[in-house]
């Protein structure tokens, strides 16, 4: 049994097994290994792509569970694979620190701290058309601070008045103020509190990993977002890879689709090999292929060919699409093996079925061109005999013709 290619992580466990168990174990281990040359990437793509075709229409919603519906289905899967910068439905799950996680009040406080609040959410804002005034009524200190920058009028106490010459300008200011975030974390649109076991957990709509992670009162080991890019930016590539895997698995599991996690892991690995997250597509992995022909056959044909000409690129034809294009065997699976036999090792015995060459005429053995040379070297060749011998032997047309021409 070959044991040298056993990964270290299981080598120890192997030691402790008895002989029979070990053999059984190694047998199934070797059976499970992928063979060299197997097109693992293609199979991974097919394994994720094929169930994708069945996904879209097969959503059966169990309504009524008052809960956050997680963005799922084909659109979400595409989002993950494309590594979109702004996912459609970012979410976070935030656990609280040990000493406050069972306190509903504290959880509520935390939620308040997170939720982003815009100026018009907590105050009245009205345009007085008659006087060209924007009146804002508030008793919130934070809002007052913001408004200071827009008006000198401090007398009104809780009422602020901004005067402008035209209605248009007023509207402009109003729109600007409407976008002012007064409190909370940027991007957190909604916060829900749910009781899980005996602790309170915050679920958010919208995600801002960087800021939330830096806040106090949060269990930093149990905070998660479904925004791949944010996870990558706060925790690095390895975390990015893991979140890609987890999110993709979630989508597929939700649809009851059975896909081996290794396929997804392979895709995630490929998306993160460079150290940053690359999308699968023209912007990312497929666009950065080495081969000109592969890129040209994918998208933006002329652009790639023109640039290849300018840069004097060389296509070394190592990939599958290039070799299909030029009509050569593709370097994958059985097409990858290069095997030749040394002529000295080749079987000397003539293969059965072929007639032996006439024994007395060793001159006729070998390639036609060699035979010609050999005969030319002879002082006096009996061409007629040679023709007869050749006819009995291999009966090579070109040689016969040449011999006949030599008679004349």
């Amino acid at each position: 049994m070959i044991e040298r290619d056993i990964p270290e992580s299981i080598a120890d466990r192997l030691e402790s097994m008895d002989k029979n168990k070990r053999k059984e174990f190694l047998d199934s281990y070797h059976k499970a290994l992928v063979e060299p040359g197997e097109a693992v990437g293609t199979i991974a793509a097919q394994s994720i792509g094929e169930p994708g075709t069945q996904m879209t229409l097969r959503t059966f919603h169990y309504a009524g569970v008052v809960e956050l519906s997680v963005p799922l289905g084909l659109p979400r899967l595409i989002e993950i694979i494309d590594a979109r910068r702004n996912p459609k439905d970012p979410r976070m799950i935030i656990h609280l620190e040990k000493d406050i996680r069972k306190d509903e009040k504290k959880a509520n406080e935390m939620a308040k701290k997170l939720l982003e609040v815009f100026l018009p959410d907590i105050c009245d804002m009205k345009i007085d058309v008659k006087n060209n005034q924007l009146r804002i009524e508030t008793n919130d200190e934070d809002i007052k601070k913001v408004l200071m920058k827009y008006t000198e009028d401090e007398t009104g106490g809780d009422v602020y008045v901004i005067e402008k010459e035209s209605l248009y300008d007023l509207k402009k200011i109003q729109n600007k103020l409407a976008k002012k975030r007064i409190r909370g974390v940027k991007g957190i649109k909604k916060v829900f509190i749910r009781k899980e076991g005996d602790e309170y957990v915050l679920y958010t709509n919208g995600s801002n990993m960087k800021v939330v992670y830096g806040m106090s009162g949060i269990d930093k080991k149990r905070i998660i977002s479904n925004d791949i890019r944010q996870i990558y930016e706060t925790f690095g590539v390895e975390a990015g890879r893991n979140i890609i895997v987890n999110e993709a698995v979630k989508v597929l599991e939700d649809q009851d689709l059975d896909v081996d996690i290794r396929h997804i892991m392979l895709v995630a690995d490929q998306m993160t090999v460079t150290g940053e997250i690359q999308a699968v597509g023209r912007q990312g992995i497929s666009g950065s292929k080495e081969s000109v022909l592969a890129r040209a056959s994918f998208e933006e044909t002329e652009k790639h060919i023109l640039m290849a000409g300018l840069r004097g690129e060389v296509d070394t034809l190592d990939g599958v699409p290039e070799n299909i294009i030029i009509g050569q065997p593709i370097p994958i699976g059985t097409g990858m093996v290069k095997l030749a036999i040394k002529s000295s090792l080749a079987p000397k015995k003539p293969i059965e079925g072929k007639k032996e060459t006439a024994g007395e005429n060793k001159v006729l053995d070998g390639k036609v061109s060699d035979v010609k040379k050999k005969i030319e070297k002879l002082d006096s060749a009996d061409y007629k005999a040679l023709i007869e011998a050749e006819k009995k032997g291999e009966n090579r047309k070109t040689l016969l013709k040449w011999l006949e021409s030599q008679i004349d």
Binding site: S28, K31, T42, I43, Q46, S47, G49, E50, P51, T53, F60, Y62, A63, G64, V65, V66, A111, K190, V191, F192, I193, N205, D258, V259, D260, H263, V292, L293, A296, S297, T301, E302, I305, L306, A308, G309, L310, R311, G312, E313, V314, D315, T316, L317, P321, I324, I325, I326, Q328, P329, G333, T334, G353, K354, K397
Partner: protein
């Protein structure tokens, strides 16, 4: 058979220099006329006979080859004034900005350049260099080499440049580029001389790539590219005449711009910003870029995707008597498809008989390839060919039983959409297959068509047989379990057969297993389990839980009331029933991994056959009354629903009174909706579990619980009269 393998090692891309274009050119093209009055091609015209042959019987004036032998030769057109190559318009602009307007050096100081290793500039370094160089000209600073003041350059799509207010002529661009030193180009990853991005001469494609078509009315219809080249030649000629006669600069510049337009559209007729060049009929011309681009272009249509010979396509239908490894091919198709076979002393007699059958009788022959060449076998010459058949000849014979064919159904979403089958030639007109292989192909028989390909080389056949044969594909690479195996009625049938109860007399048992497996001698009666056990290998030991399993807290093992505890001892089914988990789940996995694909295939073939016979002897039908519940259950459900309705009423009332507690993050109305849905959903689920409890053991529930078809949810929802909301 000798296989010729051409090997291309690498392909280098580049841009032709004007010198190279002239060197490649077999003739200079100067006149826009193509044919004279007699219909002969004009010398120096676009159909010049030196460019190749497209008519049969004529020899090429350059190489002497006939149609098919001569691949065609390039010509060239000398442009009176140079133009920009549209494909490189953006690059020309960038290069103009990166180099000095007077000395043509890269706008980087020597010190800056020293930071980089000239032999190994990486992509991001190149981008840095480009940025720094462009900064100098954009901000109108001085050249670090000759101190000349730089000017900002503007690019007007698609191909004009302005320096300040002055238009840059192509001749100026060319002159500037000509002065750029090779060393500077290395920093920019430019492997070609930049002045080649302007064109002083353009290659004329050989006529074999733009053949003219002769219509029925004997009119000639030229290719789009020829039309485009005629345009270029016409303007070129007019420009020359005007220059020679000393026309005003304005007119010359207009014509020059027109020449630029035509050359640009010759390369790409889809440039944004300029109107596409049109045919007389108003259809936009298909020029070089259009020929290559997009789905219908050369790359995706002809290079990445290719058409094949030796293939067939027709409607499919089921045939349970075939093995999963087989495909039934109609005789009509078998008469068309051939496979080459080398004559040896072992098969020469057999092949001779085939040759004597001719091409029109089934196991026959279409061609025989001898040293003299390929000869078509016809009824007139078949005797002669058969007599002269020699060892070493190749015989292209009809496909026959046992040959390998690759069977495919589109869309080919995974590799198991193409699998190798053994061919079995049978009468009638459809391709037929075992129903167990429907799953990987995702096929049904409502009119689906499938394709069959015949591999032509021994290597291909061997590879297909060892790697692609159906039995080798039983395990899906997607999730590591079987994708083939008994489904639907196979499962119901096997459940009926293996459940406790009936004993079969020898006569009845024979009805179930004849042609499948021999009955053990000297045994008078059999249980269903014993009959099924005949299919299992003798040393199989396995314990697993069937799909039927309710997942009780404490398993009662052999005492399981549902017989979900499956125990196989030495190839005997001791307890439990066989359902999906057996026909295409755990049991099949065990067989595949421990006994190999051959045995698994045989198991699938035989178990499906046997279960179909079983279901036919028992009979199996489903009706509406299967979903009927006892009165007691209905009463319970009614009570439940009434309770839920009351709750909803309460909710609505509290909403109307504004007493409803809002769910954080939702509006009042949304909260009401959520809460109502919660109540109703809960009621539905509870009703479902009541129904499940009371649903009688009948055919419908057998199907749901064994995994043959449908699931419990479908059944209970039908039972509690829940409409499906159109889903």
């Amino acid at each position: 058979m000798a296989v010729v393998r051409k090997k291309i090692n690498e392909i280098k891309f580049g841009v032709f220099s004007p010198k190279m274009i002239r060197k490649l050119s077999s003739t200079r093209i100067y006149t826009p006329n193509t044919y004279d009055e007699d219909g002969y091609p004009v010398e120096g015209g676009l159909m010049d006979p030196r460019l190749g042959v497209i008519d049969p019987g004529i020899r090429c004036k350059t190489c002497g080859g006939r149609l098919g032998e001569c691949k065609g030769h390039f010509g060239n057109i000398e442009l009176i004034r140079p133009v920009i190559h549209v494909g490189y318009a953006k690059e020309v602009y960038n290069l103009l900005r990166m180099t000095c307007r007077s000395c043509s050096r890269l706008l980087l100081t020597e010190d800056e350049l020293k930071q980089y290793d000239i032999e190994n500039i990486r992509d991001f370094e190149r981008e840095d260099i480009e940025k720094t160089a462009m900064k100098v000209s954009n901000s109108e600073k001085k050249c670090p080499h000759c101190e000349a003041e730089q000017k900002k350059i503007k690019f007007v799509r698609p191909y004009s440049y302005y320096e300040g207010e002055d238009k840059l002529l192509v001749t100026d661009v060319k002159e500037r580029f000509g002065k750029i030193i090779d060393n500077d180009l290395k920093y920019l990853h430019m492997e070609i001389r930049p002045e080649w991005m302007t064109l002083e001469t353009i290659p004329v494609l050989p006529i074999t790539t733009r053949p003219s078509i002769t219509l029925e009315s004997a009119d000639r219809s030229e290719d789009d590219l020829t039309h485009k080249l005629v345009d270029i030649l016409r303007i070129n000629q007019r420009l020359e005449e005007n220059i020679n006669s000393g026309a005003p600069q304005l007119i010359i510049e207009d014509l020059w711009a027109l020449l630029q337009y035509h050359v640009a559209t010759y390369f790409d007729n889809g440039i944004t910003g300029i109107p596409p060049s049109r045919h007389r009929s108003g259809r936009p011309l298909k020029t070089i870029a259009q020929r290559l681009k997009s789905k219908e272009g050369r790359f995706r249509k002809n290079l990445s995707g290719k058409r094949v010979n030796f293939s067939a396509r027709t409607v499919i239908s089921p045939d349970p008597n075939l093995s999963i490894n087989e495909v039934a091919v109609p005789e009509l198709i078998a008469l068309e498809l051939t496979v080459p076979e080398e004559v040896s002393d072992r098969n020469i007699e057999g092949l001779r008989k085939l040759v004597l059958n001719g091409p029109k009788k089934h196991p026959g022959v279409h061609y025989v390839i001898t040293e003299e060449g390929r000869r078509r076998v016809m009824d007139e010459n078949k005797e002669f060919i058969a007599e002269n058949l020699k060892i070493g000849d190749l015989v292209e014979r009809h496909i026959d039983d046992g040959d390998i064919g690759i069977f495919n159904r589109q869309p080919s979403l995974h590799r198991i959409s193409m699998m190798a089958h053994h061919i079995k030639v049978l009468p009638y007109n459809t391709l037929r297959m075992n129903t167990a292989v429907c799953a990987p192909y995702n096929a049904d028989f409502d009119g689906d068509e499938m394709n069959l390909h015949i591999p032509q080389l021994e290597e291909a056949v061997a590879e297909a047989e060892t790697l692609m044969k159906v039995q080798e594909c039983i395990m899906s690479p997607r999730y590591g379990k079987a994708i083939m195996g008994g489904r639907h009625d196979h499962v119901s049938g096997m459940y009926l057969l293996t459940k406790k109860g009936d004993r079969f007399s020898r006569v009845d048992a024979l009805k179930l297993v004849r042609d499948i497996i021999p009955l053990p001698k000297n045994k008078k009666s059999f249980t269903g389990k014993e009959l099924f056990s005949l299919l299992l290998p003798d040393d199989l030991n396995l314990i697993y839980k069937a799909k039927l399993c309710r997942k009780c807290d404490k398993c009662r093992m052999e005492e399981c009331p549902d017989e979900a505890y499956v125990k196989i001892e030495n190839g005997e089914l001791k307890s439990g029933i066989i359902d999906t988990e057996g026909l295409s789940g755990t049991l099949l996995n065990e067989l595949f991994f421990h006994y190999g694909s051959d045995l698994t295939r045989i198991f699938i073939d035989k178990s499906t056959k046997m279960s179909i016979r079983a279901i036919m002897t028992y009979g199996f039908s489903v009706g509406v009354d299967e979903e009927d519940l006892p009165r007691e259950a209905l009463e319970k459900i009614r009570k439940l629903v009434r309770g839920a309705e009351d709750r909803v009423d309460e909710l609505i009332q509290s909403y109307n009174k504004d007493e409803l507690k809002t769910i954080p993050g939702r509006s009042l109305k949304e909260s009401l909706e959520d809460k109502i849905m919660g109540v109703l959903g809960k009621a539905r689920n509870e009703a479902g579990s009541i129904a499940e409890e009371y649903i009688p053991q009948n055919n419908a529930s057998i199907m749901a619980r064994t995994g043959a078809r449908g699931n419990m949810l479908n059944l209970t929802q039908m039972a509690i009269l829940l409409p499906f909301n159109g889903r």
